[in-house]
Symmetry: C2
Subunit: 198 residues, 2 copies
C-alpha cells in the first residue's frame, strides 16, 4: 500500500470514529459534517474525498457493524447442549449491543429512519433482523419441538430484545438483564404459545 493510500485510510478511520461518537451522542441529523471533520482535525471539504454524503457514511457504519456481528457469530460454535445454554449464548451476544451505548443509539435511530425509507428498511431486514431472527429461529428449531413456527418465536424474541434495548437506552431501570433472559426463555418454549394453556 502506498503512502497516499495509507494516509487516506487513516483519515477515513479517524473520521469514522469521530462520526460514530457524535452520531451516538447527538444523533445523525443533529451532527454536522463540519463537526465530524473538525473534531478529527480536518476541514469540511475533506469529508467528500471519502464519502459522497453524510447518509452514505451512516449506512457504512451500520453495515460495518452488522458485518462484524455476523463474523462474531460465525466465529463461535458453542454447540449448546440444551435450550437454556443456547439462549444464554445468544443473549451474551445481544447484551454486547445493549452495553455499547453509542452503537445502540445509532442502531435505534437507523431503525426509525427505516420506518420511513424503503431502501433503509430493506437493508435492515436483510441485515440486523435476518441475523437476529436466524439466531433465535435456528435455536428453536434445534431445541424445541412444537408446531409453532420457529420464525415467529425468533421475531417475538427480537421484538422483546428491541423493547429492552429502548428500555435500557432510556435508563428506566425497572428491568435488568436477568429478567429479560427469563422472559426470552419463556417465549422460546413455544408449546404455551400454540395452545393458550399453561
Amino acid at each position: 500500500m502506498s503512502k497516499q493510500q495509507e494516509k487516506s485510510q487513516q483519515t477515513r478511520h479517524e473520521l469514522e470514529a469521530a462520526a460514530i461518537r457524535l452520531f451516538g451522542q447527538k444523533g445523525f441529523l443533529e451532527t454536522s459534517i463540519a463537526e465530524i471533520t473538525s473534531s478529527a482535525g480536518y476541514s469540511k471539504g475533506s469529508f467528500y474525498r471519502h464519502w459522497e454524503s453524510k447518509g452514505e457514511l451512516f449506512l457504512q457504519i451500520i453495515e460495518d457493524k452488522l458485518k462484524s456481528y455476523r463474523e462474531q457469530r460465525d466465529g463461535q460454535h458453542p454447540k449448546a447442549r440444551d435450550l437454556d445454554e443456547a439462549m444464554g449464548a445468544i443473549w451474551d451476544f445481544l447484551e454486547t449491543i445493549i452495553d455499547d451505548n453509542d452503537w445502540s443509539r445509532i442502531f435505534l435511530e437507523f431503525t426509525m429512519h427505516a420506518t420511513r425509507n424503503k431502501a433503509l428498511r430493506q437493508a435492515l431486514n436483510q441485515g440486523a433482523y435476518r441475523l437476529s431472527n436466524e439466531l433465535f429461529a435456528s435455536l428453536v428449531g434445534e431445541h424445541v419441538d412444537s408446531g409453532y413456527p420457529p420464525e415467529k418465536i425468533g421475531a417475538l424474541n427480537t421484538a422483546l430484545f428491541e423493547g429492552f434495548l429502548i428500555h435500557s437506552a432510556l435508563g428506566t431501570g425497572v428491568l435488568n438483564k436477568t429478567d429479560v433472559r427469563r422472559a426470552a426463555l419463556l417465549l422460546a418454549r413455544s408449546n404455551a404459545l400454540k395452545s393458550n394453556a399453561e
Copy 2:
C-alpha cells in the same frame, strides 16, 4: 370567546394537524417550519405566535396525545373477570396506537430523542411508560398471584409492545397481533418467570 381568539385557536389547530401529518410522514427534524405553515396556508413567521419553537410543538403534540390516551383509559371500566379478558382490553387499546401510523412513528421518534435528552426522558417516563406500566401492573396485581413483581411484568409487556410497534412500523410481516397477544399473556403469567420451570 372573541373573534380574534377563535381565529387564533383555529389557526393553531390547523397548524397542529399539518405538523402531525408531516412529522409522521417525514420526521421531526426533516420537517421545516415553513412546510408546516405553508401546507396549512400561512407564512413561516405566524408559527411563532403559537409556539416558541418546533420542539415545543412536538412536545405539545406528544402530551396532548398521551392526555387523550389517559382519558380514554379512565373513561372505560370494563371490569374484566379474568386475566385473558383484562389483557384483551389492554391490547385493544394498544393496537389503536399501532394502527395510527403517523402517531406511532412520531412516538418512536420522540422515544429516540429521549434517549439523548433528560427532560424528554422524564416526560416519557412520567407519561407513556407510567401509563403502560400501570395498565399492565394493575392487571397483574389483580389477576395473577405470585411473588414476581407486577411492575416487572408491566415493563416486560411494555417492552414487548414497543418491539412489536417497531416490527409493525417496519412492516416485516412475520408477526401478527394475535401472536403478540399470546406472548403477552404468557409473560403475564408470572409463575414461570419467577422459577424458571414450565
